[in-house]
């Protein structure tokens, strides 16, 4: 009996990474309902908004959830301001005075637009989350750093480009990203679409670190054996949908992979919960044609999943891992003759 107790204690300590599963006993539906009841509220009175969203909730995590949910479902991303800011910051990269002046002028515009149109870029999201949380007496800060999306050019990612939040709940820090949880810019129509992704709320720090690299390393909230900046840049592309299925993308570690034609490419993941392996597929593109293939599953045990694939022809391929209809990860494979 004592042994079992210690085993549980051991498992408990091993799982003490700060993430949403710490709050499995809490049902967020009440907080989400409150957030949706106050849909279309304006930002003209933040103290009142924070009061409306949190006064009927008792725990800090539920209060924070209501505020976060409200922001994610009411604030639109502004893609054109994002592009303009990115262009100017790139242009003034080596001129600190011009960069600082640009920052001052855009900041004023950004907050005006946020108040008036509820439209912003990630600093606006992170700022709003922080302000609302503080009004509800919850400690919350903005984290600046590097964000990686499918369109990030890793070779040119030298200046910070993204902001998110850390929040203190029950004495422990947690990470969240309201910008990426809120929705996405549809590149075809160039408009913002609300599309809430739950995986960025009190995210698993190790997985979060795959596409969020903070300027101050301690805000990675992983142990000291955390990722280096190079490993962050060299890693595979990870999509928001991955947070629905994967807890740790173990292998391949890198974006660029080389295999010989006779070898098999192996993929290994730790999942949040088991997936039907018949729903896993690979979308392989050589730049001209795309084809969907079924990999061979080699391990499927509890939350561990591994599969492999042998490329029939040499070439350079983008390989997208798909579960159901969601793209989770992208790697590239240079397949060589031997």
């Amino acid at each position: 009996m004592k042994k079992i107790y210690f085993l549980f204690l051991f498992i408990y300590i091993c799982n003490s990474n700060a993430q949403v599963s710490d709050f499995n006993h809490i049902d967020f539906s009440k907080a989400d309902k409150i957030a949706s009841n106050y849909k279309n509220e304006e930002l003209t009175n933040l103290p009142l908004l924070a009061h409306k969203l949190t006064s009927n909730l008792t725990t800090d995590v539920e209060k924070f959830r209501a505020l976060y949910m409200w922001v994610c479902t009411n604030i639109k991303g502004d893609y054109s301001m994002f592009l303009k800011n990115k262009r100017k910051r790139g242009k003034y990269r080596n001129d600190s005075i011009k960069l600082s002046n640009w920052n001052k002028s855009i900041r004023k515009k950004m907050f005006k637009q946020l108040r008036r149109d509820k439209k912003t870029v990630c600093t606006g999201y992170a700022y709003l989350i922080k302000e609302l949380a503080r009004l509800a007496n919850i400690k919350c800060i903005i984290i600046d750093g590097f964000g990686r999306t499918s369109s990030t050019d890793v070779e040119r990612l030298s200046a910070p480009n993204h902001s998110w939040n850390a929040v203190l709940l029950n004495g422990k820090w947690y990470l969240c990203d309201a910008t990426w949880a809120s929705g996405m810019n549809d590149l075809e129509s160039n408009t913002f679409k609300f599309d809430f992704k739950k995986g960025y709320f009190l995210a698993e720090p190790k997985l979060f670190a795959k596409n969020h690299f903070p300027l101050e390393r301690r805000w990675m909230l992983t142990n000291k054996n955390g990722l280096t900046f190079n490993a962050f840049l060299e890693g595979p592309v990870i999509y928001s949908e991955a947070f629905k299925y994967i807890s740790s993308p173990n292998y391949p570690k890198k974006m660029l992979n080389t295999v010989y034609k006779k070898e098999k490419a192996t993929f290994k993941y730790k999942l949040l919960s088991p997936i039907d392996p018949s729903k896993i597929s690979l979308l392989i593109s050589n730049g001209i044609t795309d084809k969907i293939v079924k990999p061979t599953v080699i391990i499927q045990q509890g939350n561990s999943l591994a599969f492999e694939y042998q490329f029939p022809k040499r070439g350079f391929y983008d390989v997208h891992v798909i579960a159901y209809n969601d793209v989770l990860m992208t790697y590239t494979f240079d397949v060589k003759n031997k």
Partner: protein, 133 residues
């Protein structure tokens, strides 16, 4: 005799003075007053009038907002020791504890120093850059 009379007058005077002091101070302690003011925002570039600033009594939902000229009049009478909170998106929140004679406040909020960043999510699948063959 003369000194005794003087002393009597002196004591009488002191007593009435004390009474006056106690009365005035207690009455002013309980006294509530109207608070008006103007709110400005200070950025690195300029200091300007701020409209739509939320002004509320700390710990309550009683409050108002500043008008187009940055002016406000608090909707209820306040008393010494009350704390007014001034909050505006993009500026650092300010709390002001009222004193007896604060009937007009000029409040300057300091702009919060944020570097504006933004990476937004999109629905694009990664595509390798390839050399034209």
């Amino acid at each position: 005799m003369k000194t005794l009379l003087h002393r009597k007058i002196f004591i009488k005077g002191m007593l009435s003075f004390l009474f006056l002091v106690v009365f005035v101070s207690t009455s002013s302690y309980a006294q509530s007053f109207e608070v008006k003011g103007v709110v400005k925002g200070k950025t690195q570039l300029e200091t300007e009038i701020l409209s739509d600033v939320n002004i509320y009594l700390k710990g309550t939902n009683i409050g108002t907002t500043s008008n187009r000229r940055g002016e406000f009049k608090f909707p209820q009478k306040l008393k010494s020791g009350d704390v007014l909170v001034f909050s505006f998106l993009g500026f650092i929140k300010k709390q002001i504890t009222l004193k007896n004679n604060t009937t007009f406040l000029t409040v300057i909020l300091q702009e919060d120093d944020n570097t504006l960043l933004g990476a937004l999510r999109n629905n694009k699948r990664y595509k390798s850059k390839r050399l034209k063959q």
